[in-house]
């Protein structure tokens, strides 16, 4: 079966609409959303509505958690004073425009989803989180030390762990060799639909392929496809510029940073 995973839409409706169009052409068997529906653009309510309309199982991102509770803290790790000031404008603006019903939805989203497979007399767990299993706003970057990544997955009983939050997609296959047997764990960052930061401004999501012979003992039996799609970036960037949001967010969208 093919499972589509997407996250970090960040109120970018043109990107979400283009994503759904692309997704429908791929005909996945199941679709999950790993959070951060809101923040940084002008369509938080519309993005929530579209995802609800499709009944997509969705977990909370850190921005959803903050807005759901009308907090002025999104749990974002802003580095510079300028980023902090811009971030304060974004969360305040988002809190102003998000409506009660959409806020309530964000507030009751689950934190994690675990999908437990039993294939070929073997078991493996697919864990879906926003940041990490430990914290909704922990960043798991591609250069994370292998030992640390393995420990996080082991503690969470996850053989395949999918997450977003950094907006930089990757799939790392980690080998565990003990007492003569070799097993593999998969750490998969699914990128971002509406605010990519890997230098490529196209929206992104992941297709995860589970086959009849998929096993944690066969390295390539669990595979991913990183899909990038075009969308009307100018429409999303102009919406930022025509709003009280900082213009820096429009530039981020144009450059994918």
């Amino acid at each position: 079966m093919t499972i589509a995973l997407f996250s970090d839409i960040h109120a970018n409706l043109p990107a979400l609409e283009a994503f759904f169009k692309d997704l429908d052409s791929k005909k996945p068997d199941a679709v999950y959303c790993l959070g951060d529906l809101v923040g940084y653009n002008i369509w938080p309510n519309e993005v929530v509505d579209e995802i609800r309309k499709r009944n997509i199982p969705t977990i909370a991102g850190n921005y959803d958690f903050g807005i759901g509770r009308s907090s002025d803290d999104c749990g974002c790790a802003y580095k510079t004073d300028e980023e902090k000031a811009n971030g304060a404008v974004s969360i305040s603006f988002t809190n102003q425009i998000v409506k009660d019903d959409q806020r309530k939805y964000l507030r009751t989203l689950p934190a994690h989803i675990k999908v437990e497979f039993q294939l070929n007399n073997d078991k493996f767990n697919l864990l879906l989180v926003h940041g990490s299993p430990r914290r909704i706003n922990e960043y798991l970057f591609e250069d994370r030390e292998e030992k640390s990544l393995l420990r996080i997955m082991q503690d969470a009983d996850a053989d395949i762990m999918c997450f977003g939050h950094t907006h930089k997609p990757y799939h790392r296959t980690l080998e565990i060799a003990d007492s003569g047997t070799v097993r593999y764990r998969h750490a998969i960052n699914i990128g971002s639909v509406g605010k990519p930061k890997d230098g490529n401004p196209k929206g992104g999501y992941v297709l995860l392929h589970i086959k009849e012979n998929s096993s944690i003992q066969a390295k390539d039996s669990i595979s991913t496809e990183f899909i990038r799609f075009d969308y009307d970036i100018e429409k999303a960037a102009k919406a930022v510029e025509d709003s009280p949001l900082p213009n820096a967010y429009a530039e981020s969208l144009r450059k994918g940073v």
Binding site: D29, K104, T108, P110, H112, I113, V115, F117, K211
Partner: protein, 245 residues
């Protein structure tokens, strides 16, 4: 949030189509299927196609899980196996890769709540968790599976039971049998599904943040029963649809 749960469609397209129409009208936030898409009737491919087209998160029932292990000879046997013979190769692969369980972890107001979806029980897709299961035995099923709300189907007899440990953390356990969309066995031939609502104050020390509603609906039972009678499937399956046993 509003979660719709359904299961045990058993290749009954008229029931499934009607059920989906009503589910859409509910405007739920998420929909999960607890398995047994196939067996007992003539539309396995149509039912699977609809579930796949909608991308509904689905777990394997015992009927779904056994399809890939049936031999060519078994599939040719007259009678009930015709229901599996109809399934396309591509759909067989889909059934063979369905997960066994799905878990949701909620953290509402700082309190953790675990929901688990299984077909039969956490330990087997072919085990029945019936309404009269003794409290203590039932509570240990929850504790072994680390679940506070356990949702399952398989018996085709819907019920909701709140189990109370009396004291201690994670005191209340919720057992929810989703019944059956396409082959009810509780004497009521209407199709059925469940609406589970998790409120923002849901937790394991009180029960009022969680609500469960059973929806039953009319569908064209005669169309489903006749499809059985007009094909090689045992006629008894048609009688079971009409009388719900």
């Amino acid at each position: 949030m509003k979660i719709i749960l359904f299961s045990d469609i058993h290749a009954n397209l008229p029931a499934f189509e009607k059920g989906l129409k009503l589910i859409d009208a509910e405007q739920p936030d998420a929909v999960y299927c607890l398995g047994d898409l196939v067996g007992y009737n003539a539309w396995p491919n149509e039912v699977i196609a609809e579930v796949r087209k909608r991308g509904i998160a689905t777990i394997a029932g015992n009927h779904d899980a056994k399809v890939s292990s049936l031999t060519a000879m078994e599939l040719e046997q007259p009678g009930k196996n015709y229901a599996y013979k109809l399934i396309s190769e591509d759909n067989k692969k889909y059934l063979a890769t369905l997960p066994a369980h799905i878990r949701l972890e909620f953290q509402l107001k700082g309190r953790t709540l675990f929901i688990m979806f299984v077909h039969g029980s956490p330990s087997s897709n072919d085990e029945y968790l019936l309404q009269d299961k003794p409290d203590r035995e039932f509570i240990s099923v929850f504790e072994n599976a680390n679940a506070d709300i356990l949702c399952f189907g398989h018996s085709h007899k819907p019920y909701y039971r709140i189990l109370d440990k009396g004291t201690g953390p994670r005191r209340f356990k919720h057992a929810i049998n989703t019944g059956s969309i396409g082959k009810p066995k509780d004497g009521n031939p209407q199709g059925g599904y469940v609406l589970l609502t998790i409120n923002e104050n849901a937790n394991t020390e009180e029960t009022d943040g969680i609500s469960v509603e059973f929806i039953r609906f009319h569908y064209d039972i005669e169309r489903a029963a006749k499809a059985v009678e007009e094909g090689p499937l045992p006629n008894e399956f048609a009688d079971m649809l009409r009388k719900a046993y």
